[in-house]
């Protein structure tokens, strides 16, 4: 069943709100059963939505808090593109940011595919380690 622009936008925001609030149960409801998640980093491999959700609790342990800010959402037939800033507070208190773009495909009220683009060159600054972080802090 096709979705309206408004429904797609709402689904996109619901997805990021759930991600921010660490609600894995809500995310499991948002992903279709055959959902595929791909990242341009981490070897550029595809993973199932199920595997992606399984990895989330460990991923969340890295930061005290994450917020998904400055969301610019544009919808198209069957999906959305979102550009946003991921702000994170590490356990050390260091504040970092990543600038990310996701193209999501949707059907029947669920997300069926996620392609995520980010820059792993900024990971040290995000974590608060290395010269990039010192450069960011200055």
């Amino acid at each position: 069943m096709s979705m309206t622009d408004g429904e797609i936008r709402e689904l996109c925001n619901r997805f990021f709100d759930a991600y921010q609030d660490r609600r894995v149960d809500e995310l499991a409801d948002i992903y279709s059963s055959d959902c595929v998640v791909w990242h341009n980093v981490f070897g550029g491999r595809e993973m199932s939505g199920k595997d992606n959700l399984a990895a989330l609790p460990a991923s969340y342990e890295g930061q005290r808090r994450r917020t998904y800010d400055d969301r610019i959402i544009n919808t198209f037939e069957g999906g959305f593109v979102i550009q946003y800033t991921l702000h994170g507070v590490q356990h050390s208190g260091h504040k970092g940011a990543l600038w990310i773009c996701i193209v999501g495909l949707c059907s029947n009220g669920r997300i069926t595919r996620i392609d995520e683009y980010m820059d792993s060159g900024r990971f040290p600054a995000w974590r608060g380690a290395g010269p990039a972080a010192r450069e960011n802090a200055s």
Binding site: G79, V103, Y117
Partner: protein
């Protein structure tokens, strides 16, 4: 009303022009106020500086190909995901996954956002260049 075909045509014209080293056509795709933002420095690059970068690549590289293009249009713009393959003067073929989000005014790209991973520069520039 969404002008999907015009947006798709602009998208193809822009990337085809880079592939074909057709600088005049490329230049016409950008509005006078065009700015291009890149995820590696989070800075907006002015039109002339971006065109100079593209011209340098078109001159220096043997070949630039945008493969596996997946384009979606939205109200006032488009997003293209692709893998950029470049053939360097030493014949090394580099590749990079890119997401390009463009906002369009009067049939020209007014603002663009380009996302890619600088953590894989060896794969794009070649092992020796990446280490430099």
């Amino acid at each position: 009303m969404r002008q999907d075909w015009n947006l798709l045509a602009l998208c193809d014209r822009f990337f085809d022009a880079i592939e074909q080293k057709d600088f005049p056509t490329l230049e016409q795709c950008y509005a006078p106020e065009a700015m291009v933002w890149h995820s590696h420095d989070c800075l907006y690059q002015p039109r002339d500086a971006n065109l100079a970068t593209l011209r340098d690549g078109m001159t220096r590289l043997k070949k630039m190909r945008f493969k596996n293009r997946r384009v979606h249009t939205f109200e006032g713009g488009f997003v293209q995901q692709h893998t950029l393959f470049v053939t360097h003067p030493n014949d090394f073929v580099g590749q990079m996954d890119v997401c390009f989000v463009a906002f369009v005014r009067d049939g020209m790209i007014s603002r663009a956002y380009e996302y890619f991973d600088t953590g894989q520069m060896d794969r794009f520039l070649g092992p020796r260049a990446g280490a430099a």
